[in-house]
Structure formats: C-alpha cells, structure tokens
Subunit: 207 residues, 2 copies
C-alpha cells in the first residue's frame, strides 16, 4: 500500500509527520516522501529538513496521498505539482490534506463546490478556490479528507487508519504513539483562544 | 536561545517534530537538529530522514535540550552521546525528553532516584537505570522534564513554552498549530486501550 507524503519548500513539519507516524504503522504500508526533486526539503521556518527519497514522477499512483500545508503552499501550486495531485487522485483510494494543504487540492480542482476544511487562517483562500469552508477537525467527502491546521492531521490519520484497517488496529496505533492528549492550555481554535493569544499570534507573524 | 533537537538512528519522528513545531516558534528560538555526525538520519521504520545540520560538538551548550525516543534509543546510548547529554545538561536552562528518550537521560546519570516518565512500554528499563517511573503525561523536576510516549512531547513543549515565554505566547502557539485534539478513539494509554487493541499492538510488533 503505497502512501505518498508530499514535500515542498516551506511545508510545516508536524502537518506531515503526524499522519506519517500513524499511517506508516499500518500493516503493509509502503510510505514515501516525495517532492518535485529528490533530496532534502526545508520547512517553513527553514531549520528542519526532511528528505524526499522519490520524485513525483517516481510515485505516480499512490493508494494514499497526504498533502501538508505551510507558508510555501501557494508557491508550491505550480502546474507540475497540481497535475501530479490530479493524476494521483484519479486512481487513489484516499486523497488527504492537512492544514493549508487543502489549497493544493482545491487548486488541482478536486474541491469544486465541496465542503472542506483547512487552517483557520485560510478560510477565504480556500473559498476563493471554489470549496465551501467549514471549521471542522476534519471533513470526509467520499475518498477525500481535508483536516484543519497542523496537529489535526493526527486525528485525521487515526480516523483513516480505522477506515483502512479497522478500529482495533487504529486503537493499537493510538496506544503505540500514546495519543492521550492533555494540553496544558485550551486555546487550540479561534473559538477557544483568549483574545490576548490571538493578538500575540498576529504580532508574532508580523514581526 | 539555542535549542538542540537530538537525532540518532531509529529515532521516532513525531517525538521530536512535535516539540520542534512548538518550541521553534518561540521568540528568539535558534533550533538545531544535532547528531554525532551531520547529515540525514533515518527514523525507526527507516522510511523518514531528518537532516542533522550540526554535530554534537558544534552545539555543546544549548539552552534547551530535547531528546526523543525510538527503537534505536538503547544503541544510541554510547559514551560520546551520554557525555554530550551530561555536559549540555550542566549548563542548560531546560533538559527534556520524549518517550524512551528518558532512557538516555537516565543513562547519562541525570535521573538517579528521581521521578520520571517514558513510553509506557519502557517502565522496567527506566527503573533499571535508576529512575522512579510514574505514568504521567510529563513530569517536571527542577529543569528536567520527561514526557510520556511520542505525542506527549506536544503537551510537554506547550507547557515549556508557557514557562519560558508566558501562557499567552504558549496559547498563541497552540492556536497556530491548531492543537485542539479530537481523537476519533480513546485508546491512548494502557489504562484506556481495549484489550483487543493491546493484543493487536503486540502482534504488530512481533511480526
């Protein structure tokens, strides 16, 4: 079961490593990090490099496709990458995105008129590309699953693991990665974050 | 603020990328992936490579040290690595581990007679190295913080972000990574996982 994890410059690492450490534990998984060119790819803050072992052309028909988000999503939406996504989706069993990765699925024309999610900051961009944004943890429409920002990929991947291998295997993987979240704060969505935290985040981004 | 993220062969990717994507967002953060030799390092199932840009010798005195776990932890416990951990800890502001990374801290002599945690499967190994195991999400003793398995590093790192930069900044980072966990199953600890999931996990490891 080939699983393609897409990399591109300025991806967000947790977007892709969360689903990786769930889905790569599935029986029969054959995970590949792929990119337009093979070799190291730098993340959004430039201090982390994940290695793409295969080019897009070398993994044209994965059974599962995982597309992460990041500050580089818009720049990644070139014709070669969108064509690869479109072609891979034509034969995939599951096509998934995390965070602003849904902008790439939308750019490839996969989300026209469909409900989908993304990082909370990308609502307008997603809708401009033809999708109908909903603030959900993840949204499944047929074989397409879009997840919310960054850490939502872990929840999405556990759900997908259950669909593929059954709930008991998904629970076994959850136990393996000890995913029993106990966040010390409760500020993980725009509905929950205190106004001061939202303001601080805006300041962190503008400087 | 130098933050050293240790890599060694057969580390678990989410152990280190979870804390990375929290701590590297702190104002003034200077994160480095470090290993005995610079270059790509393969993870526990061999399909992911993160690049160490610096050798241990090049980052001798980080302010924060993050040590991940993985199936390679025991093999990583050589004298050079343990000496680096011991020396880094002597001048660090914070010394942390995720998952079986606590076995390396214990091997370096940092946890003698202290309460600490680890992946649930490593209780006996941790105690054999002189620590007192507790099944907690993370445990802080002074400047030392040990976290439970894999995904627990995210909770630990958010706590640490709050200690370093205050709760508002920690909440801003939580919002940025949209850490509002909604696991589709509730099997993330030995106390919660159904017996069938535990049995399935044992079978997955033995084959």
């Amino acid at each position: 079961m080939q699983i393609a994890f897409l990399l591109y410059p300025r991806f967000t690492a947790l977007d892709i490593v969360g689903p990786y450490d769930v889905l790569s534990r599935l029986p029969g998984a054959e995970p590949w990090f792929v990119a337009k060119e093979s070799g190291p790819v730098r993340n959004d803050n430039g201090r982390l490099q994940l290695v793409a072992e295969k080019t897009l052309d070398e993994v044209p028909s994965p059974e599962i496709l995982v597309v992460p988000g990041g500050s580089g999503t818009t720049d990644a939406a070139d014709e070669a990458t969108l064509r690869w996504i479109r072609n891979a989706h034509a034969t995939s069993t599951w096509t998934t995105s995390v965070c602003t990765g849904s902008l790439l699925l939308a750019g490839a024309g996969l989300l026209d008129g469909q409900t989908a999610t993304s990082h909370w900051s990308a609502e307008e961009q997603l809708e401009a590309l033809g999708a109908i944004y909903r603030a959900e943890r993840f949204i499944r429409v047929g074989k397409l699953i879009t997840a919310a920002g960054v850490s939502a990929g872990i929840d999405m991947a556990l759900y997908l693991a259950g669909e593929i291998a059954g709930p008991t295997t998904a629970q076994a993987i959850q136990l393996l990665i000890e995913y029993d979240p106990q966040p010390p704060y409760d500020a993980g969505s725009m509905a929950k974050a205190p106004p001061d935290a939202v303001k601080t985040l805006q300041q962190m981004f503008n400087t």
